[in-house]
Symmetry: C3
Subunit: 469 residues, 3 copies
């Protein structure tokens, strides 16, 4: 049976002298608490603190990073229990066996890297998963999950997470957050995030009902555009009161473009009547992005932008399993012209923090870093989603720091719904920061004391500053 | 006189510990037989087994990788005998001298790397080409070409090629393939490839005549759209019977988009009458790509796509020398939206294998790897043409394996019409695979036994699986 | 106090064996004279040879590379005296203190790298700038600037610059150049560059007045299109007589597209009347780019193209400070189709040298290198502006040399208005060339004698050949 080991030097540069520097830099930040200002962990998990049901519901079912790779390798999403909730043990075991049998599919991916860390460091697994040991590993993990040390709150403490942001619907009452905040057992700051996408896209199914509900929770008449804007402002204010620090936006493009007031009112009216065209809906959403920036200047919510993904690429899978099931595919996305109207109005506003993410590696050097290298409001979101992986992070580091320096980076964001992967993801980032900074020191571009200061800032101060924590 | 040497460690990583790992990985695959599932070698060369006429007709005239670099350096294509067939000795020698005198133009390119390997390993050349030794080298190579050990079949044996795919016109009778298959002297499987481009683009010169001829060889009335489709289906079936495993498509873009049946019929009718517009012709071709995918699901031919090149960029050179003369230039190409209708219909069909190539390095990480990381039908074509070079292959490896793992790769494809470069190209790929996997081992991201398994799979099983060999 | 040191091995590869090779290659070119065929130094500085006023007017005020990073970090451009001319000492000192206090903002950027070299090598600074030593450093530099060894001509001699190109308005009388040429004290060849952008864009503010003035200095009636063309031809000829070797073009895109003569005449007429639309103005400019290429074939001026930047992105900053104040942001730019009409007509003309620059790193491999790998007129401009930095230069080297070899490179271009940064920029390029070539030698892709010949050619012969010096 092959062993599973996590080497202390993993991901550090291979060249011995550079590795030595990297080791020293990494050692300085390895054990610092985690600040996670953007992610998708469900706060109910922490509120309820119920044991995780089994390895499959923990590692496979909710994580489209994992299921997409298995699906590409020929495993049906039905076999993995995607979007099903807890499975009967036989099915959970069968799904786990599929993962272990197809372990080779993950080679070279960060999913494999995170898995190694999680299995070894959280569950003490010492064998590489395979068809042969799948059941034994299942039992080993399941047993631990049933015990007190692997319940959500115990893990939260063990993960040493100072701040954990969730992602929430603007109509959410944030009751879970309030209760977590009041719970003396929870020392992590668990902060909600305002994610209004579906309220800003009037051509989406269910938009009118959603807006109606938003009006109800805001106690505002949303029968006209003015009320709709007020409702959004009120919900943002409520989120701020409940500890939110940012609003997250994930549309097909990054365009912000103003509409005449009367035109916005007209489209809103027709949208409520179910008569909006695709073009009008897009124009309205681009206008509302500008409104969101205006509100951020007012209420201080950091504005994060995650554009450029064609969601639900495979209609049949979407029909059967719904969204977030592994077939969101990036598209080329423009930022320079797209954001110009927004930056024209608010780019130097002291209250605006605009964090730009992309899944197009070419855009980092061509557009995002030059924007962040001038506008004091613009920060460079670290590699996101498909790009949150070692080589891409290295390319990112090279592409943006030469153009904008280190001070324009967002700090690491894990963006994960896989709770147990949070420490592994942050650790990967710290190792790669150490390796990159070590290469600058080895090439005499930076002194080691500066590299040490830089990596410490990246891990601690920078996310707090960018996300106003 | 400077020597020409091919170092046993060439292309392996410079860092000694990584190189050691790479050496072990490379040693495991160095001598494995070659599987070449896509290329442009003329089967007549092997059928006739005539000696190659001279170094110029072997190395220069047919190879636009070489002639374009000399042309950029100021050498006229006429001086190189491009598209002329065998030259009188004085002109062949003159062309060879131009190559040797301009040897420095090739520095840093893979052409130079392949040349070094071919000259040293096939012809025993020990001196770096230059103006001074051009004639001596010409004589040395010409003498060997005249002998029995350097005739095409002798080289085929020596190159240890298990499978060699050619690229063929759908109207071809594949007589050469049949005779090669029946020849006990040939142990390589030489398989034709269905390349229907010109029959799918009704605005191309000669389209109607081509379609007419296709109808004749298929014995089908192509006077209407239905017959045209049947003729294509029949020719595909004939190719399958003759051992073809794939159909190759190289259009300006990757778009697949359905037409209403009546519209397809109308455009077909008007195309036959010579009245098709550019826009209609493009719409028709995009519709036919969808038809090709449908047929692939039926007859099992692997679908390879090579889009995104502006062919024959320089009109004057095209007028004088025809196509494939070094001035095909890449353009930005979109895959995510372009292929959506095709993947909507056939993306999870068990019979479809869709191999996506690109000459735009940015597309690997942004679109192709994410598609291949979900759709079980999609494979990532290795770096093609301008990108089939060490640094680009490394960037490719990093870009795609982190997103989609190793199992979604096509395996190496040489795509060459330069027969003698086949071993050098495959060897380059194996060295770069060894180097990349060694770096993963050195960074403790993969165990060495896994790297060994991966490189062996990439060289042997993966192309056989992807191309159904 | 932290020390400031410039290590002899800076930027050379970290791996010891590769570094050894790189050292030898670098040593061969380290002290060779500088050839700078494109830049923005004001010739009046050299003509007048007045001492530089103070560190701020030398290092900060004129350099948008510096001021943009400080602005992104929260420093107002007004605090830095941008576009103000010499500042009173207290304000100059205050600006300098802001730079020193924010020194960490520059970490990882080439600006920092150049600064280190300039401070250490020109001014003997031995301490890393900080809030604490800002005043002492100011005094140290100011004192030297007041002395004879740091006046412009003294520095020019010390920098060992053989050729220095300026960038000039077509209506300029080039009096400064004539006087510098006649001055026996100046041994550097100081050559003007024809930069006609604003005369080719009829929708720009002041276009008609500019054209009128151009007609006056050319002594040509520019009341119609024919006269306008003649005026441009005459001014180019005048520039050639005054030693110019190139014409530089920096428009929003790279498109060259012919207009019918009558259409060009019509747009010109309406432009003079102030009635041109944006679309017509763009069409006219694209037509004129083709005319510029025609003129280059006639008069031999090398044509350099710097497209793909959205100038003056932030309207408010533009209104307050004017152009070149740090908010020019790249946009995606197409070359393959854009330049086809130009290359169709002139691509193989023996007089045309067309040097293509980009700020989009993806375009190097996808479009520019393939074009330069066929057309003998096309040269690959080295990384420009945001890309003139170590990692981007390395990516460039890998991207283009494998596709087009070394002979298609422009040689290094500093493109700077920061006079003191010229040696540091050329030195950075030489170090990176040495490192890249060393990696090819270490991987046995090139022999060391070839690498030595290549780097020497790149530093000396190549810019002279490409720019016809």
């Amino acid at each position: 049976m092959a062993s599973l080991t996590v080497h202390p030097d993993r991901l550090l540069p291979a060249e011995p002298a550079v590795r030595d520097i990297a080791r020293r830099l990494y050692a300085a930040v390895r054990d610092l608490p985690i600040v996670s200002p953007h992610g998708h962990v469900d706060p109910a998990i922490l509120l309820e603190d119920a044991p995780f049901a089994d390895p499959t519901s923990l590692f496979i079912q909710p994580d489209h990073y994992v299921t997409r790779l298995l699906h590409a390798g020929g495993v049906g999403l039905d076999q993995l229990g995607v979007k099903e909730g807890p499975l009967p043990e036989e099915r959970a075991r069968a799904a786990w066996r599929l993962l272990c049998r197809n372990w080779a599919l993950l080679r070279g991916t960060p999913v494999r890297y995170w898995f190694d860390s999680e299995l070894a460091e959280i569950f003490g697994v010492r064998e590489r998963p395979s068809a042969d040991n799948a059941d034994a590993l299942y039992d080993q993990i399941a047993e631990q999950l049933a015990g007190p040390d692997h319940r959500p709150r115990a893990l939260l403490r063990r993960f040493n997470i100072d701040v954990l942001a969730t992602t929430d619907d603007p109509a959410d009452d944030l009751e879970a957050h309030a209760r977590l905040r009041d719970d003396p057992d929870i020392t992590t700051r668990i902060t909600p995030t305002f994610r209004p996408d579906r309220y800003l896209e009037p051509a989406r199914t269910g938009w009118a009902d959603g807006v109606k509900r938003l009006g109800e929770v805001a106690d505002v008449d949303v029968g006209n555009y003015a009320g709709y804007v007020v409702a959004l402002e009120q919900r943002r204010r409520f989120f701020v009161e409940q500890g939110a620090v940012s609003a997250d936006h994930g549309h097909a493009d990054a365009v912000a473009a103003p509409l005449e007031r009367a035109e916005a009112e007209r489209i809103y009216r027709e949208s409520l009547a179910g008569q909006v065209s695709e073009g009008e809906a897009t124009a309205f959403r681009r206008h509302m992005i500008l409104e969101m920036a205006r509100m951020s200047c007012d209420d201080g919510l950091v504005m994060t932008v995650h554009p450029g993904v064609r969601r639900n690429h495979h209609p049949d899978t979407f029909a059967r399993y719904g969204p977030d099931t592994g077939h969101d595919i990036p598209i080329a996305t423009e930022y320079t012209d797209a954001l110009r109207p927004l930056l024209d109005r608010y780019g130097t506003h002291p209250n605006l923090h605009l964090v730009l993410f992309t899944v197009d590696p070419d855009v980092f050097a061509r557009e995002i870093a030059p924007l962040a290298g001038f506008y004091p409001s613009v920060y460079i979101g670290v590699p996101w989603w498909f790009l949150d992986s070692p080589a891409m992070i290295r390319r990112f580091q090279e592409s943006v720091t030469e153009i904008a320096g280190f001070s324009r980076l967002s700090g690491f964001i894990d963006d994960t719904r896989a709770f147990c992967s949070i420490p592994a993801r942050h650790d990967m980032s710290r190792r790669l920061d150490a390796g990159f900074l070590a290469s600058l020191v080895a090439e005499h571009r930076l002194d080691e004391d500066e590299a040490l200061d830089t990596i410490t800032t990246l891990v601690t101060d920078q996310p707090r500053k960018v996300f106003k924590l």
